[in-house]
Symmetry: C2
Subunit: 645 residues, 2 copies
């Protein structure tokens, strides 16, 4: 071991407080250091822990269970769990069927594709995923995103076949992206969208979706393709004289009021959670019956008209594997895949922490990716976890992912037998269902809490929100990501520094700004640097410290206090330093020498002290100028001061 031994003999203890030498950690093998860093970065959750010291056959079984978790929890399945899953599955199925038909319109696809996407993907997820509460299917925000990005490339009204093919291509690449991120253990990239930015983005997307529904809600035929609020209001108000169909509005408004009331009941009393869950299906049934009876479609009420019967046709040959649309599909799939991941990750984490089980983020990504790859080959578009349906799933008492299997079966039955019944369903009802669904995405409470807690986060939130509403979904997303990155950049290039003083009656040194009662030490300036010192900030830190010195010297001179002879740099937050940082310290040392001020370091961490020795800076400054604590440093520099305890 290479650490410094005690410097004082016992007899000196009564005279001086004990000053401990700064320890140099034992030299670590370079290979070991690299292995540890790689392990911490990519394998932070230690996935192979369970595989240790196991026989071969067991390792194979564990491996299979890792890829298909159903093999693990399926063994302990019983009737009680099935009962909970059955009820939950039926509940979310009733919710998802009308939503699916509505969301496919958001994505500019025919209604059956939404139902397809609630059939195959949940089945795949049930086999490969680990979240017990998530409900899989198409979601509003991703459908909107897909619809917007795809129609920028191909017009869905004039070229529906190519549009659909591009949608499948995008879904395929969304799945590839998700699975690749999971396999390469790059899951932490999803963390890069800050919570505040997501809140703003979701709120803006919700309002955008609700505005889009005004087309179906008011029965307007000619509507803008753009999503920003200005264009939408233009279309709405522009057609007020001859575009609004009062019959549609009556149907839509009535059932919207009904749905919102059902939601209110569900919130007020947790026991009635099932009310807002079955309300959409009831609305669909009632309104379809009503339109059928009154033949309202002849009076201008637009209806669904036709939903293709039968289950998912294969679509492998529809995916663009070559040609100009390959790259476009890849780009759109990448963006949609990342957003889908963010939603699923948020949902998965929320419920896992509520029910106190662990979720492996990277494994979830592989499951979601596989689900979308298989989906793209069976006529589905991007599916992910849905906030509203997962919440209903949870409250209906789901036990495992079997609830998704149950929902899947109900959708299958619907596709096989029940689709003709939707022929007379008015579009207005689908619009009302979507509006009532997305209203839950607008989280005002979260935004207020963000405002109170962190103003910069609030700027990110509002930037994303207004970006989506006034420009487009992609611009809002770009703003959200940029502001998130700018925050990291700011932290990295302009770290904080603080001047420290001694808290009376202790030997503790703290930030004078936070503890106004802390007293400065005469003749000594103590600066704490609150960050690692890398190339991105080393120059700034050096100049900032020199500026602290200049300011303090002026102040103390004006107050006729003794001149500063020592500058102590408290380095406890400086957990690492690189060559640029060491150069900056060498420059600082030389500048201070010219001003006749001695540089002293206090409390460097293990990495830092290692590098200070390796670069010979410790020899340059003198090893007796590096101390364990600020108190020790002050004592040695200004022995006149006596520490009271």
């Amino acid at each position: 071991m290479d650490f410094r031994t005690l410097s004082s003999s016992p007899s000196q203890i009564q005279n001086l407080p004990y000053i401990h030498k700064v320890g140099v950690p034992p030299k670590q093998n370079l290979l070991k250091e690299i292995t540890t860093t790689v392990k911490e970065t990519f394998f932070a959750d230690d996935p192979l822990r369970a595989f240790k010291d196991q026989p071969r056959s067991r390792k194979f079984v564990l491996g299979m269970q890792a890829i298909f978790p159903i093999l693990e929890w399926g063994r302990s399945y019983n009737l009680a769990k099935f009962r909970g899953d059955l009820i939950a599955g039926l509940t979310i199925a009733s919710l998802c069927i009308p939503q699916d038909i509505g969301y496919s319109k958001l994505a500019n696809l025919d209604p059956q594709y939404g139902l397809y996407s609630s059939f195959v993907p949940p089945l795949v997820y049930a086999f490969m995923g680990s979240s017990r509460d998530i409900a899989i299917g198409p979601v509003a925000v991703v459908s909107l995103l897909l619809g917007t990005l795809l129609q920028n490339e191909i017009d869905p009204t004039t070229n529906a076949v190519e549009y659909r093919r591009l949608a499948f291509t995008a879904t395929f690449f969304a799945g590839i992206t998700q699975a690749t991120l999971g396999i390469l253990r790059l899951g932490f990239l999803v963390d890069f969208l800050s919570h505040a930015a997501v809140v703003g983005f979701m709120g803006g997307a919700a309002i955008t979706i609700a505005l889009q529904q005004l087309k179906g809600f008011l029965g307007i035929k000619r509507f803008t393709k753009k999503t920003d609020i200005v264009s939408v209001m233009h279309s709405v108000l522009g057609s007020v004289h001859h575009g609004w169909n009062w019959q549609t509005i009556i149907i839509g408004a009535t059932f919207l009021a009904f749905l919102l009331f059902a939601k209110y009941i569900g919130k007020k009393n947790k026991k009635f959670f099932w009310v807002p869950a079955i309300a959409p299906l009831i609305s669909v049934i009632l309104s379809t019956f009503f339109v059928y009876i009154t033949h309202a479609e002849k009076k201008g009420v637009q209806i669904v008209k036709h939903i293709e019967k039968g289950i998912n046709p294969p679509s492998v040959n529809e995916i663009f594997f070559t040609g100009e649309y390959l790259l476009k599909g890849f780009r759109i799939g990448l963006v949609a895949g990342m957003i889908a991941l963010t939603e699923a990750a948020a949902i998965g984490r929320t419920f896992a922490s509520m029910k106190d089980y662990q979720l492996n983020g990277n494994k979830e990504m592989v499951a979601l990716g596989t689900m979308n790859i298989v989906g793209s080959m069976t006529s589905c578009y991007v599916a992910t976890g849905s906030f509203s349906r997962s919440a209903v799933n949870y409250m209906a008492g789901c036990q495992t992912a079997v609830s998704n299997i149950v929902m899947s079966c109900v959708v299958f039955l619907t596709l096989e037998f029940i689709t003709p019944l939707f022929e007379y369903t008015p579009n207005a009802i689908l619009s009302s269902i979507i509006i009532s669904a997305v209203i839950g995405l607008i989280d005002c409470d979260a935004a207020i809490l963000i405002w109170k807690t962190d103003k910069f986060d609030f700027v990110a939130c509002m930037g994303a929100f207004f970006g989506v509403i006034f420009a487009s979904v992609e611009i809002g997303l770009l703003i959200a990501v940029s502001i998130s990155f700018a925050k990291i950049l700011l932290q990295v290039t302009r770290p904080r520094t603080a001047s420290l003083g001694r808290i009376p009656r202790t030997s503790v040194y703290r930030n004078i700004q936070q503890y106004p009662e802390a007293t400065k030490v005469p003749g000594v300036l103590i600066i704490r640097v609150d960050s690692v010192i890398y190339f991105s900030n080393s120059n700034y830190i050096k100049e900032r410290i020199l500026r602290w010195l200049t300011d303090e010297e002026e102040q103390r001179k004006a107050a006729c206090q003794p001149r500063i002879k020592f500058l102590i740099v408290e380095m406890s937050p400086v957990t690492d330093i690189d060559t640029s940082g060491i150069h900056a310290f060498e420059d600082l040392y030389k500048s201070l020498q010219k001003r006749d001020v001695q540089l002293v370091l206090a409390n460097p961490g293990p990495l830092v002290i290692d590098k200070l020795h390796a670069s010979n800076f410790a020899t340059l400054i003198g090893e007796d100028k590096i101390f364990l604590t600020v108190a020790d440093a002050v004592l040695t520099c200004s022995p006149k001061l006596v520490e009271e305890v």
Copy 2:
């Protein structure tokens, strides 16, 4: 003031050590907070300090002096300074003339453009720049970069006019980029290329340039346009039988040996610094005379042939302000401008710290930008500070930027009268001069020091080096920037955490890995988080802390030690926290509660304690669970332990 008052009464002091409450800093006005952050980010050097409390006329004078520093230092100019500048100027002029002719070949331009770029830009810089030692003109690396990037777009041999126009366009936009960065005070972006990456990049570029010179050195006519080592060696070895011209090789080798010997003399004895400075010019004169006498050009020795006489023609109308080349010129100018800035910034800082004066980085950028903008309109290409010439300038005793004016005048005389004399100068001599010049860019000592100090930095260094040599200059640059960013990313997403123990005979808690003698506290686990807690790492930190707990519990159980009841998070390096971080702490608190472990916080900084209160986390955890130091926290959690001092 809103800080907590003392909690213990004097009578308790004898019984218990004094426990100070954690201070909440006075609430700061939001506007003041924003102003301070903006000021610290963009105006860190407090440029308006000198303008305080000054009458209007004085402010105008100060303003003029800020833009044209020559008005400031020009007032105190005297004959002694002029003597130093004259000698230095003549010395660097003798060095720059052959270099300029050679560097324009690197940039695929006619020889006179190098001389033009040593005429106008240094004049502009002398009026607007603040470095006293920098020598302005074309440099090897930027010339190579320009040459490579430009010839990717236009072939200089078949379309020389358009090529030149694109070069001026790129120079114009390089100047715009530099000036804009300086005006917007975004100078810190230049810091983002780490020192280690620059060392690797420069070394690789030097070797690439030297390899390119083999064409002129060996007299090969057909040579690859690519710059990577494999292509170059192919061209060299492929033409060994019929391409090498032995007369050229003799001339080149002889004078190369002479130049290297002169360099060696200059290094050995500082007094002979002028020897390697005038050696290139002497070589040019001697070799030109020799070729003229022996008519060597008829035996296959390639010569310069013709240098346009006269000073810079205006070139404003040659710049592409519209059309397809506008964007290409902008892109190339952006990259070249940034590299030129990095070189000039490094040179400026080095000499400023050696002579102990301050340089304003942003002001320098504006000066360099203006210089290149004016240069693009007077037939110059991108000029910046040259390492070799600035070093010679310094050692020759330059006093101010007047040395650049002197050099400029000599170049003017050369352009007006002396250019015909260069007609018989062999290309081989220019190649030898360039080879001997760039050898100084290969800094082996720096690379070895980087290897010793920081292995990650060394990876960045080698990545850039090999990227330039084996791929291309742009790829090497891309690798350098990517590795620099990856380092920041790693620090931001995977911060370090450490388990703390008590150093015997003190109340100081330090990292157990660094201080093996530190003892763990029974029943208590102390984890220090070494970074701010933002969205980019909050999830990882939470999971890492829980993993520490699991590991420690297993260890202590195996050693039959008491169960962990308290988890203290030491937060001194956590200088900031955002909403994602607070959520992570709330999740951590709930997880710990389920495991019957109490969460305790120690030493939160001012920003953090503010946000903990604003988000009500402090109320959730209990305000009596937040302590000033780890020692206080341990004392309250495990009162049985007695602190010895």
